[in-house]
């Protein structure tokens, strides 16, 4: 996979456009709680406000998720990162990369932006400590020249993430 986060992104395929329009329509019809899609005319990049659920470590905090879709979405997973400052969480790096299997190896085309966001929200809600992953500094340093998290070989922490 050579898709890089910013430059030279291929335009969405017909199938991807069709599917994203459907997802967007569904989102607007039934907005998921705690999530707010910022309306732009860019179908290929969604920016979503994520509000920490009440009663969790992230209550009253809001973060931004940036979702970039590849040409062959949904066969290929979208790239999902937090726009820094990213929430302090043991599976979220300070550059916004998220260690969550469904974003990489376990992606399935039957998943949607909605289902991703809900997974991320529940990952935040179940957190018991606000801290960075132990290898944060090393990892972030390695990503400095704009590497996409999709090019990382993730080793998923085996606790409930």
């Amino acid at each position: 996979m050579t898709s890089s986060s910013t430059q030279s992104r291929k335009v969405l395929s017909k199938i991807a456009q069709n599917r994203l329009q459907k997802e967007l329509a569904e989102w607007q019809l039934n907005p998921p709680p705690g999530l707010k899609h910022k309306i732009t005319d860019n179908l290929q990049r969604w920016v979503i406000d994520v509000s920490g659920a009440p009663g969790t470590l992230y209550a009253n905090e809001t973060y931004q998720l940036q979702v970039d879709f590849p040409e062959h979405y949904p066969m290929e997973a979208p790239q999902v990162i937090f726009v820094p400052p990213a929430p302090l969480h043991p599976h979220i790096y300070s550059n916004g990369h998220i260690c969550l299997d469904i974003l990489y190896d376990s992606w399935s085309p039957a998943m949607t932006v909605n289902s991703i966001c809900i997974s991320i929200l529940s990952m935040l809600s179940s957190s018991t400590s606000k801290q960075r992953p132990p290898d944060n500094d090393r990892y972030v340093k390695n990503c400095r020249n704009g590497r996409s998290p999709k090019e990382t070989r993730w080793w998923f922490h085996d606790d409930k993430a």
Partner: protein
């Protein structure tokens, strides 16, 4: 799992290790440097066959499996499982992929707890979604509606349209062999996607890839089967466990060691090879200069490029100095046997001792270990290069020259087989000779008698090979030249033919002796030192004889003693019948 092979320990305990660590174990106690124990009762008929002769009936200890053989075995396993478990063939192949073709483990687990096995591989007994009676359904990926006949599902019933299935399947196939264990796209569903569905919906190209993965899945985890390591080769080799001769030759003609999957390295054992390869990679920076294909002519200092296989070099006119590529010494000291000992293989440590003052001597000693390695490495590498060149030459011969030559001489190609045989012999001998240099490197300096015997046998073999190689490479050229051919050449060819054929035979014999001597751990030395009468009944046993494999009756030894009606040629060591006064191999006078 990333280790695709394991080293089967061919030696008794750690004796080989002790030996190589250069410790105090001496040769008699160490099991053998040659690793392969000669099975005493396989007698003289189980002679070592050189590479290309291996299909001549001698019992093979391995079977090469072509793709079609593997497919057939897969078919058999599928049929078997499908009938024993009363399930479809598609379900059977899902199970077999999960169980890595281990039929008995699959049976055991299935009969112990069928439900658990079904759940873990995704073979549902009934669908989780019941198709509604609507005439249209919504695809779970693109969310479009389709008529029922354009919607497909795995056993679970989750509905996806043809286009989305195709996209899903092609993505999985292009992600790698994981596609063999494909599941329903629904993230919460574990239903397996059967091969029938995949093959129906995949493109031709993807179907091809998928079926390659399917074949490749057959062996990966099997103890007795390995893939041929040659690039682009799709064959596998199934090995008869218990045999301790590991050299196998794939149908693609790549010879390799089944045990360590390095290139075939008989008569040297796997651990020596592994150590040598490790050593080479550690030294590779120092060694780069050696691989350079150019050296200055030792006489006129102009750079000479080696582009032929044999080590006999001639500088360009007007110099025309003939020298040995390896040691840069004059060829006249080497090729003909005037100087007695063919010295190019012998590393002379601390030569010119006494000529140095103390400081210089110490510097020399530090340099010595690298120099010693360099000596062996250079010869190892040169033989490797030479072998590659010879393989190319043989190919050229078979595809181009032979036919032309047969036209010119008006002889059928079958009459020219001796040329091919000569090249095959050269290729095999270069391989053996190459590995004897790794062997020599690890042979301790203080084992003087063994070292001498080793260098003698190696030198003899090497000299014979150089004669053969030179004849096949250079003397043959005359006959291949398109321009200068007329009927007058035929008589020359008449003398060339027996010469080359005989050099081939002689070289073969020298190398057989060399291989035998090394595989016996050079035990000839022990027994010649021991009293000759004790040899027959186990006198050649090592002092430390610890159980199986440690006793060894070297064939060469037995022949010296037992065959009283034979005499050994002192040029090539061949055992000739008493009746002949000329050596049958090299025509040396008794």
């Amino acid at each position: 799992m990333d280790s695709d092979y394991e080293i089967v320990d061919a030696y008794d305990g750690d004796s080989a290790e002790d030996y190589f660590s250069g410790g105090d174990t001496d040769m008699d106690e160490g099991d053998s440097i040659g690793g392969f124990e000669e099975d005493e009762d396989d007698g003289d008929n189980a002679g070592y066959e050189y590479g290309y002769a291996s299909d001549e009936g001698s019992e093979k200890t391995y079977t090469v499996l072509r793709e079609s053989d593997i497919r057939q075995r897969q078919e058999e396993s599928i049929s078997h499982v499908s009938s024993v478990l009363s399930i479809s063939r598609v379900a059977a192949s899902v199970l077999l992929c999960h169980y890595k073709w281990n039929v008995s483990q699959l049976h055991d687990e299935w009969f112990a707890d069928e439900e658990r096995v079904r759940r873990s591989v995704g073979l549902l007994s009934k669908s989780v979604i019941l198709f509604p009676n609507d005439s249209e359904m919504t695809c779970g990926i693109c969310f479009d509606s389709y008529p029922r006949d354009q919607i497909h599902s795995a056993a679970c019933g989750h509905p996806y349209c043809t286009t989305c299935w195709k996209g899903y399947i092609t993505t999985a196939i292009n992600d790698g062999p994981g596609c063999l264990l494909l599941r329903c796209p629904d993230p919460a569903c574990c239903a397996a996607v059967g091969q029938d569905m995949i093959l129906k919906l995949a493109s031709d190209e993807d179907r091809e890839k998928y079926s390659r993965y399917f074949v490749r899945s057959y062996i990966v985890d099997k103890k007795k089967t390995k893939w041929c390591p040659a690039p682009d080769c799709e064959n596998a080799v199934e090995f008869e466990l218990g045999s301790n001769v590991y050299d196998v030759t794939c149908l693609c003609s790549h010879p390799f060691c089944w045990n360590c999957t390095e290139e075939a390295h008989r008569p040297v054992d796997c651990s020596t090879v592994a150590k040598w390869i490790l050593k080479n990679s550690a030294e590779s920076e120092n060694m780069n200069w050696i691989l350079a294909n150019s050296k200055p002519c030792p006489k006129c200092k102009r750079p000479i490029e080696k582009n032929q296989g044999c080590m006999h070099m001639s500088c360009t006119p007007p110099c025309k100095f003939e020298f040995c590529w390896l040691c840069l010494g004059a060829w006249s000291d080497h090729g003909e046997r005037t100087g007695g000992f063919y010295a190019c293989n012998r590393y002379e440590a601390g030569k010119q001792e006494g000529l140095y003052d103390e400081a210089e001597k110490r510097r020399e000693m530090a340099k010595n270990s690298l120099e010693r390695y360099t000596h062996y490495y250079e010869r190892w590498a040169s033989n490797q290069t030479s072998r590659q060149k010879s393989i190319a030459d043989l190919h050229q011969m078979q595809t181009v020259h032979l036919e032309k030559l047969s036209d010119k001489l008006k002889e059928p190609e079958s009459q020219l087989k001796f040329i091919i045989e000569a090249w095959q012999q050269i290729i095999e001998c270069r391989r053996v000779l190459k590995w004897t240099y790794a062997y020599g490197y690890y042979l301790p300096e203080h084992e003087t008698a063994k070292k001498q015997l080793f260098e003698y046998s190696q030198g003899e073999a090497e000299a014979a090979l150089e004669r053969l190689h030179q004849c096949a490479e250079k003397e043959l050229l005359v006959f291949l030249d398109d321009g200068v051919f007329d009927i007058n050449v035929t008589p020359d060819f008449g003398t060339f033919r027996p010469k080359l054929a005989q050099l081939t035979r002689v070289t073969c014999s020298y190398f057989e002796n060399l291989v035998r001597a090394l595989e016996n751990g050079l035990s000839e030395v022990d027994s010649q030192a021991a009293s000759s009468t004790s040899v027959k009944n186990g006198g050649a046993k090592g002092k430390g004889g610890k159980g199986k494999g440690s006793s060894r009756t070297g064939r060469a030894v037995a022949r010296n003693i037992d065959d009283s009606d034979r005499w050994n040629c002192d040029r090539c060591t061949y055992a000739n019948p008493d009746s002949s006064s000329l050596c049958q191999m090299c025509h040396h006078q008794r």
